[in-house]
């Protein structure tokens, strides 16, 4: 029986590349694709894939919250997280969310097949950096992976995180309500609770929070070319 894989990434070009890579492997098939986290959850419930591959930086519902929602629905889902960064915080959140594989997008052509094979064999797959951090955390017998962990802010609920992401992506309360099938009033109440919990006063604070906590990801423009700096005359 074929191993069935669901792909979730907001870029169709990336999904095409992933599909081409995975379908070269005998006995695997990509049974579905999703372009955001919400669609990924819907399709996973509908298609019941063996492995779900989710990009972290997706609109509407990011990959970490997608992983959480999938595992809340069914703890048997096996999720591989694709990410552009393996910072301590992203690694910690991916592990907390319940991902069983963690692959850098830049290394996906090399690592993704190994990651799917690992999950197929009921093992986990992480980059060497994740393994180092997990080992360090284990050796310290602590709950944290980093000594320089930022102080924790009050915890948002899953719904509040979803709404924070959508607001930080520039949606109005009305648009968020429409996306989540809620009333605008309910979204406004969640929004007030979020701002109160986090002691924020502006949407700008919320956007910064969403970026810092990987609810949304941004790509920085390239730096201008370095200009040679010679010695300056005194």
């Amino acid at each position: 029986m074929k191993l069935r894989i669901l792909l979730a990434d907001d870029h169709e070009i990336v999904r095409r590349g992933l599909r081409a890579l995975l379908e070269k492997h005998e006995g695997w098939e990509v049974c579905g694709e999703a372009s955001d986290g919400r669609e990924a959850v819907e399709k996973a419930l509908q298609l019941n894939p063996d492995v779900v591959i989710v990009d972290i930086g997706m609109p509407n519902l990011n990959g970490l919250d997608t992983t959480r929602q999938l595992l809340q629905h069914d703890p048997h889902f096996k999720v591989i997280v694709l990410t552009i960064t393996d910072s301590d915080q992203v690694i910690r959140e991916a592990l907390d969310a319940g991902a069983r594989g963690f692959v850098l997008k830049s290394d996906a052509a090399r690592d993704l097949v190994s990651a799917v094979e690992a999950l197929q064999n009921k093992r986990m797959f992480f980059t060497p950096r994740v393994n180092d951090l997990v080992l360090a955390g284990f050796l310290e017998k602590g709950q944290t992976f980093s000594r320089n962990e930022a102080p924790k802010l009050p915890t948002l609920t899953a719904r509040e995180r979803e709404i924070t992401q959508l607001l930080a992506e520039g949606n109005s309360s009305k648009e968020v309500a429409s996306l989540l099938n809620l009333s605008t009033k309910t979204v406004e109440t969640h929004r007030s609770n979020i701002m109160r919990k986090l002691s924020f006063h502006s949407i700008r604070d919320l956007v910064v929070y969403a970026i810092k906590n990987n609810l949304i990801q941004i790509e920085m423009p390239p730096l201008p070319p370095k200009t040679p700096t010679g010695p300056t005359a005194a």
């Binding site: 169709e12 070009i13 590349g17 081409a20 890579l21 830049s106 052509a109 920085m220 423009p221 390239p222």
Partner: protein, 137 residues
Amino acid sequence: MTIRILLVDDHPIVRQGLKTLLEGHSGWEVIGEAADGAEAVEKAKDLSPDVMVLDVTMPRMNGLEACRLLRQECPGLEILFVTQHDSPQMMREALEAGARGYVVKSNAARDLLAAVDAVSQHRVFTALNGRNVAELR
């Protein structure tokens, strides 16, 4: 006549996705790939492609720098940016650097074929997400 294309992006998965899309078009051939701007300049000189599909943000040398160099080194080459940057300012920079086309990566599956077709005929093609698609002669 076959249009010979060089693909430049630091993510192999993205190159693979672009390649499957482009090679589905008869008469187009992906003749090479590069993972950064410096490699793109070298391969363009070696392979003389007709069109280069070029990312902006890459290690070693970014796409804008590569584009400026290539304008001098390979004047016949048409350059099409495919980038994450959905920004009029970045698009202007790309065109000023000498590119003939600009497509946002999230829409590449929709816009890329039309864009390669346009730039291969020396026409400008630009498309930003959710905004105008302009094809100028």
